[in-house]
């Protein structure tokens, strides 16, 4: 196991407290936790593609970074009145 895989494991584990915030606090805080989780998940994908020496996998991280941000924008917009 190299340092990139260790870092990916640490960051993936850090998603669990964010899940806890999602489950046990208000819906507003849940959206904030979702935003932090999006960053953590795309970082973990970056690290895994480097750790496994699979360069094409980095596209997943880039696509996920965009999609998670757009998803959070959509949630924020809907939570003004509708959710």
């Amino acid at each position: 196991m190299n340092e990139w895989e260790i870092a990916a494991a640490v960051i993936a584990a850090a998603i669990l407290p964010c899940l806890g915030v999602c489950l046990f606090s208000s819906v507003l805080s849940a959206l904030v936790a979702l935003e932090v989780t999006g960053t953590l998940a795309s970082t973990a994908l970056m690290l895994l593609s480097e750790g496994f020496h699979r360069q094409p996998f980095v596209d997943l991280a880039l696509a996920f970074a965009f999609l998670s941000m757009m998803g959070a924008f959509a949630f924020a917009r809907l939570m003004e009145r509708d959710l």
Partner: protein, 107 residues
């Protein structure tokens, strides 16, 4: 151990620590507007990690795209925080600008 190996490792550890601090802040803070500050911080951790992979792999398929991913997360993060804050204020007050003058006058 070469210089780039050491530099990449330092950047990697710093990036991971920044992201862990962001999660810690998210969990510890009580108010949602306080929690929002840590979304931006997590983005900068991702940027440092992207740079560490770039330092290790130099300008290549993975180096370019991890830098792009880190830049996306670092740049869009603050915009996302601002948008989310406006939405929360609109949700609570009907209009996000409502009551700003009174808040600004408070010491």
């Amino acid at each position: 151990m070469s210089f780039s190996h050491v530099a990449a490792t330092i950047l990697l550890v710093t990036g991971v620590v920044l992201e862990l601090f962001a999660v810690l802040g998210l969990v510890v803070m009580r108010d949602v507007y306080d929690r929002l500050h840590y979304v931006g911080l997590a983005g900068y951790g991702a940027l440092l990690i992207g740079i560490s992979i770039l330092v290790r792999e130099s300008w290549s398929l993975i180096g370019d795209k991890t830098l792009a991913t880190g830049a996306v997360l670092a740049l869009i993060g603050p915009v996302l925080v601002h948008t989310t804050t406006r939405s929360f204020r609109t949700r609570e007050r009907g209009d996000w600008a409502d009551g700003i003058e009174q808040e600004l006058e408070q010491p």
